[in-house]
Symmetry: D3
Subunit: 216 residues, 6 copies
């Protein structure tokens, strides 16, 4: 923890002075264009990977980049999505999974999670992804060989969950918001993006016009 | 959104090559020392403020850096905390609030949140902070003048909520984890830290030994 | 109630004998092809409208033909859908709304539902439909003029909710189930069907090949 | 599914014209006398069995004709019952179980339901019936020989659940509503009715005055 | 609080020695015959009113002597009832309301409870009693003149809720448990008991055989 | 049950007359100073152990003297605490565990509770205590030798849960309420009290000034 404290000091002495004007501008409000939902995994730094600045991304993070379907029982994701879409007016939502995700490994083998009862319960929101992969591959059980496919399918299904949130559905129907499904590769730095038409993931920066294919 | 896509490309071309070895080392596992819980606010970049690298901080973010008390109904925070503490073995938890927080403004005036029903419900986990400030200041109603005090009290109370989570309570009882309450000032870059003894917030980098006073 | 009792007697004396063989065949099992979800409204008789026989339709009915998104808190719809899809293996699901629906009128004016607290809460699963219509029409408030549009949109959105149920999503991904959105006109007997491509409702029996356009 | 679509066409061409006046009369409102709650099973057609017409029965259907006891967490049954009793003013409620019910078989052997987690959870509302049969018969475990008794007891207990719903309890106390417990025999067409006095099920059409014995 | 501490000292010095043998006998187990459910009100001492000794009554107390209907979401009452009936094998359950009950006053005027949101929500389990009294008396609103009737009806309805708990229903069906509804008058010391046949409350000690009329 | 009925009669004839004035004074209101939370165990009589009179203690009792952490889903304890603290204004809360507690034995061995599903679920609010004892003693499993330590730790942790309730936290912050953790020994009559400073339990009547050490 000591280097974290020292890092704050370093930030204040060496980094903040150069960004003083920017932070003063931001002091009294934010108007991010993007809601960025990703895993809590320590190896992901959304601002680093997208080379964005403070003020650019409204960021929600939890184990597994899970988005529970809308319900009348409010949780943190539901509230944060409502805040981002209906109050802040973001126009893009990125759901970003990643390689070597501990949560996805847990979803593959829920029987190993008995000592982590809350993780097990939370990952039942990912059961939709494992059921899809089982049905598609004809596998009664999944193992680590299915990790990549489940990671991708989880992103696709969490986007389906997003669509059940009233604020998101309303903006979607009016064409005022776009949804993006990403998978970040920790080892290579690659970012794949889901294409709703082809139902494939392709590199985000090799898509026509330099922009990824938003699902809508 | 376009600059976010272009940012990814820039990351891959200009930044990743210089960190290649580091990311390869991280590709097959994480072992963060710190669970960092903060607001989804776009103006906060935890890795920037603490000058830390990928792999250092397991990060949970939601509107208001709220931690619901432990219950049998699992939400994302409960599961992510269990994962960080019981599975990854973090030894420090930082709860970091911030100035000009939209969620805290909502907690001050819940009657203004009727069009954001889920935000209103979620912020009922902050009612403990507003009730404390009302009782302490003898105010029947709160307004924006109480924003700083409620922001600080919210950090203190969310740490109390943390203590009800079994994995956290177990490590605390054995002296194997430390809890830290921070408030980050967007305008000045200052980070205040809660001292459990004095019940005051003081600058994180002006504390004895260069380390902040952990509550325990 | 007396005519209902007498009706049972009439059924046994006049109707059952002519269907004896059929009912004996059905006595030890069902294998319906279709899960039919519709409103509890007394004016709808699914077997009459589709001219189907006992054994053909597995039928779920509640006020408003509502399908809560999948969650970890089980309700009757969630369980019945799981039973129909995963245990019985239905290959089609019809969600059938209707004209002059009391539940849809309630969704339009939730403020009138204070004396019916459970109806009000249940219809919050339809808020997604009213929010869509508000956004699309630019209306801050809705009234009875929006009844038809909200009724149709509700069918579309409940189908979105269906997609979040793991058993349904799995079959959809493998192309083993089809979803159909209908609106039944009580006054004219017409049945409109939603076309996922055109995003329009058209008469079910005027579609190419005599079969409706399933969404997928 | 094709014969269902063709059935709609047949309904419109051959059946609707003969009922045109009736449907026009119904187009702008319903005032059913009876709330009819039964299983989703495809072999049950409530309007056929009671020889009733559109407008007569407000119908709720789910797997197992289950009525959760009243709670503050609203589900579809709770809302639909409130709507039928408090808004529409029905004066009779029929709870109709049936022979060869898949849900009742599941209630007998919950350990077989591990692959249907929501069905298992939903049927915990029927545990009251299996516990009663176990206690009454002195059986530690139940099997298919108890199917008939559990099916009947389930109807009796779901009626007990009905009594906890405020709108129902209020009408009962004032003598303004009657509750009826039925079991429909798919193979023989018989309908048995529960008699609160004798605690026996007897044929619905062999009761004094041609009317069944309502529980009150 | 000081007199409470001093009371403990007095108990140990003056009272315990005379009951030493009794407490030693009780040290390793309890086998109470009665589950006694009453209000938390400070003016009620169940052992005083029934002149019973330690070991006689298993006692549950909450504001309003409320018993939520059985549900899959476990609360303290549900668990304590299951423990008393299924584990300890009590053969009688007394539900004891009382005069001048603050909770019943709250149930009469829920609109006054806005500053006590949890009390308001909890008392929604008593709405069944107020709805019954409204329907029976033809009153759209209730006031303090209905306090006695609501207090009695609440006891009757909480007993109905008891019947939905599987362990209770099972013992009832087998005739192995009896339910008793009482109202204790703080001012006069009288205890009224509900008679299921006459649907009246009569003095508990003026009933035939010196025993109250159990409902069954 | 007969001796309970006869006890009421005895109370009315022999005890009430001597306390008539006191009960008349109490007939129209209560103002207890203490909220006393203890187990439902039949061997505990709070008024006996503290030698207090009707009007002194507002008493909540459930299996295990459990206090769920504050949540948005209201239960009986949450409501009763809110009523005692915010409406009645108690200034002390005692949480009183006891020796030979059946609930604590259940918490030690949850695997034995499969036939008591609600007890098992309820005791998950005590998992925080068993996890603490496991971590502190380095035991992977607990057994009856840990009963005393778990019983004490459970009292300590339920007090932590109390602190998450807004009304309690507010009074604590203003120094207007004190929390006391007790363990009552059924066999010896001793009452131990938790000292927040030393983290030890010591006899309640051997503490300085004759008053126990309140945690704050
Ligand atoms: Zn991850
Ligand atoms: Zn914030
Ligand atoms: Zn309808
Ligand atoms: Zn059935
Ligand atoms: Zn009371
Ligand atoms: Zn106990």
């Amino acid at each position: 923890m000591k280097h974290v404290i020292l890092g704050v000091e370093k930030f204040q002495k060496e980094v903040f002075p150069g960004k003083k004007a920017e932070f003063e501008r931001l002091a009294n409000g934010q108007s991010p264009e993007v809601l960025f939902i990703t895993c809590s995994d320590s190896r992901i730094d959304p601002n680093l990977v997208t080379q964005t600045e403070p003020g650019d991304l409204f960021i929600c993070r939890n184990a597994g980049n899970v988005i529970p379907p809308h319900s009348n029982v409010t949780g943190g994701m539901t509230a944060s999505i409502e805040f981002a879409v209906a109050a802040l007016g973001v126009t893009h939502i990125v759901v970003c999974g990643h390689t070597d995700c501990g949560a996805m490994k847990g979803a593959l083998s829920p029987q190993k999670l008995d000592s982590l009862p809350h993780v097990k319960e939370w990952l039942s929101h990912c059961r939709v992804a494992t059921e899809v992969v089982k049905e598609r591959t004809g596998s009664a059980e999944l193992d680590d060989n299915h990790l990549e496919e489940v990671t991708k399918e989880n992103v696709v299904q969490q986007i389906q969950h997003l669509r059940t949130h009233p604020a998101v559905a309303a903006k979607l129907a009016a064409g005022r918001i776009q949804l993006h499904g990403w998978v970040y590769n920790i080892e290579t730095g690659d970012v794949l993006c889901y294409d709703d038409e082809t139902r494939e993931f392709t590199p985000v920066n090799q898509q026509p016009g330099g922009s990824d294919a938003a699902t809508s």
